[in-house]
């Protein structure tokens, strides 16, 4: 039984982590594509149109990967989490089916038209198809976040005697106080990722002196979008989410902030330190007093309950993993604001395009927004443990009763092998697209 739960969780964690590499780029990138396409409509400079079409090629590769790794996510609810599906399908089935209905049809229909139909449609319609692709991908995010919000903070349902969750109030799923902050935070994070990707491609073109007019365009657009989105990511949306966790999941909040013992007065904010689960304290701690209380409640002396205030079964099951995920996310987010602020400053002083150290930094920083996005999701998901539906349904009660751990291990190994291949092919294709560049080829 323990093994089954472990392999089921590992498989889901692995496949969702790999899957989320792709949508986090497409959601943000579609915004930048719409922006370039709009610039072209407005000013008729060919460069902007080529930039939009080039980014759409990268979008399309990511979209394909997102589709083929996304179908296993939907299937796995049934294959590995049958009991969870049976009990909650009446609720999260709504939001997941709506995602397909309102997002995927929109996205896939108009992506094909954007890529194949520019000459057949004219520029205004082409802009419109780009906008609809953007809309489709953000609607998709909305429904996934609505699904997750219900699992984090269940509302609008009734639990029957046989343990089944029944929908009571459909609109409550969308007015869930967890949803809007999580959605905005998530979408901004995907804008951060795509800004870094675009800035990184720009820095690369400038460093090797290839198609520099596009290098400059990508760099400029990337750092401006990147600066605005990384600031908004921390404040107000990140702050808003942290307050939600403190309010609705106080045990998870204590664990992710690393507060082992409640203090009499205001709580300190931990910058660095390693959770020591034996002695129930942080090793090598660096912390600033009272800041956490102020950030969370705007009150320097407000008491924040530590982990000692909760029963063991109320606490997240893997406290160090949760603590590290959260701190990696926050630490990286802070670095992003710093780098992007510096880049914007250099851009303003007309030095960005010539500053080699900054160009190198921007080029190599590209994996980190991905890591920040994924650790952000780990924070949300590990914080919810040991529950699937917070406070109501334990993760161990959600797995498929008939699928043995041997079968899950087999499929997990298969997914690992297959996704290695996919990842390799993905990198080759993106590298090839970047190598060709946005400049139209003359045959």
């Amino acid at each position: 039984m323990e093994d089954m739960l472990f392999y089921d969780r590992l498989q889901f964690a692995f496949t969702i982590t790999f899957h989320y590499i792709f949508p986090q780029l497409t959601m943000g990138l579609s915004l930048l594509i719409v922006y370039f396409k709009w610039k072209y409509l407005r000013f008729s400079i060919e460069k902007h149109n080529n930039a939009a079409k080039f980014l759409m090629k990268i979008f399309a590769i990511n979209f394909t990967m997102g589709v083929v790794t996304g179908i296993p996510m939907e299937f796995q609810f049934g294959t590995n989490w049958a009991k969870f599906s049976e009990l909650t399908g009446g609720i999260i089935g709504q939001t997941l089916a709506m995602e397909g209905m309102f997002s995927f049809f929109l996205e896939s229909s108009f992506l094909a038209l954007f890529i194949f139909g520019e000459k057949l449609m004219g520029q205004k319609l082409h802009f419109l198809t780009g906008f609809l692709v953007f809309l489709g991908s953000w609607i998709s995010g909305w429904f996934i976040l609505a699904t997750n919000a219900w699992m984090q903070h269940p509302v609008g349902h009734e639990v029957l005697e046989n343990g089944r969750f029944v929908l009571e109030n459909f609109s409550a799923l969308f007015s869930n106080p967890w949803l809007l902050p999580a959605f905005l935070h998530n979408q901004l994070a995907s804008v951060v990722t795509s800004s870094f990707v675009v800035a990184s491609i720009g820095a690369f073109y400038l460093l090797i002196n290839k198609q520099p007019e596009y290098g400059k365009l990508f760099l400029k657009t990337g750092v401006i979008f990147g600066f605005v989105s990384s600031v908004l990511l921390a404040f107000p949306t990140g702050d808003w989410n942290a307050k939600n966790v403190a309010k609705y999941q106080p045990a998870a909040f204590a664990a992710m902030e690393g507060i082992f013992e409640s203090e009499d007065a205001g709580a300190e904010i931990v910058l660095i330190g390693q959770p020591n689960m034996v002695e129930k304290k942080l090793d090598n701690k660096i912390a600033i007093p009272n800041i956490l209380s102020f950030l969370t409640y705007q009150d320097w002396d407000k008491q924040i309950p530590g982990m000692d205030q909760f029963k063991k079964e109320e606490l997240p099951s893997n406290i160090p993993a949760l603590y590290y995920s959260y701190h990696i996310m926050v630490g990286l987010g802070t670095i992003f604001i710093g780098v992007m602020a510096l880049s914007v400053f250099f851009l303003w002083r007309n030095r960005l395009y010539r500053s080699k150290p900054l160009l190198w930094t921007l080029m190599f920083l590209v994996p980190f927004p991905y890591i920040a996005n994924i650790t952000g999701w780990y924070t949300a998901e590990l914080g919810r443990q040991p529950y699937l539906v917070y406070g109501l349904l334990k993760t161990s009660d959600g797995i498929s009763p008939t699928v043995s751990s041997g079968n899950t291990l087999f499929t997990l190994l298969g997914f690992v092998a297959l996704y290695m291949l996919l990842g390799l092919l993905f990198l080759v294709l993106v590298a090839k697209t970047i190598k060709v560049g946005p400049k139209p080829q003359t045959h």
């Binding site: 090629k57 399309a60 790794t69 590995n80 049958a82 049809f105 896939s108 108009f110 094909a112 194949f116």
Partner: protein
Amino acid sequence: MEIFWYIIIAVVLAVFFILDGYDFGTGIIHLFYAKTKKDKEVIAKSAGLFWDSNEVWLVVGGGMLFMAFPTFYASVFSGFYLPLILVLWLIIFRAIGLELRSQFEFQLWKDIWDVSFGVSSLLLALFFGIALGNIVRGVNLGGVENGVSVYEGHYFFLPLWDSSFSPLSETPGVIDWFTLIIGLISVIALAIHGANWVILKTNSSINNKLKSVIYKLNIVLSGLTLCSLIVWQIINPNSLDNFMDKPYLILFPIIYFTGLFGLYFIKKMKKEISGFIFSTLLILGGITSSLASLFPVLLPSINEVNEPLTIYNTAASEYGLSVALNWGIIGFILLFVYMIIQKKIMGGKVDKMDYGH
């Protein structure tokens, strides 16, 4: 309300098999009949331009099944664990085959991905047919051994095969000689459908040859159909009861046989779309007839202990189903609009269309 959602989901899944079915079929044709470089190119393109929007129907059908009949979704997806995961892997190989072949110009690269596309299409057609066979045959619900359920009555787990390979075994596996026949029917029907699609959407040099291929395959298909009907009678003597009780359901088999019959005249057809229409009828009729013979059962139980899964004992709450109907109607209207727009812009033969890479 359950019946309503049952019909909607059946329609969505039938549309999936009709649309993505021609992609699978195109893959099978590509594997066996495309010989010249140019033919390989356009035939792959006739599937490559459309597969992802077709696959959305599977995602939406799956989502709706999850929403409307969660118990059925949970039971069937965990019970058919291994074949479903295999299908997922095949879907991935099919997709990357189509998307990657034109990325590099050297022949070896194209050959690898053509085989990936062709073989995974063939196996997908086979597996989907076998899945239908399993649904029709029923499973050992509750995992009953010696008259006692091992699991809750609505759960089961099927191995890929049972040592007897027989549908009459007490614990049949996913693959037995009955489901294999249905799998073959599916492969051949989809190959015919794919050939019709290639004729409709391309100017490949083998278009004329494909017509005689369709004719021959249709003869085999007729034989297999007859064979499956006889075997089905042996496995389940009550299989035709629904059609006796509700004679209007006979419409569905009539659709199937119209398709089957019509395809005998493939060589005389003037319009390229006619063949495609008949193979569409074939697939539509085949799926709907199978479902109609079971209705309102979704998955029969082959033991006496546990009740079959029906649309009534697996459905979500009445309130949920009726709310979903509201957004469902809006969604389908939007979808209809997209399809008209797409048809207007992307109609016609694909030979001249830009693959976009």
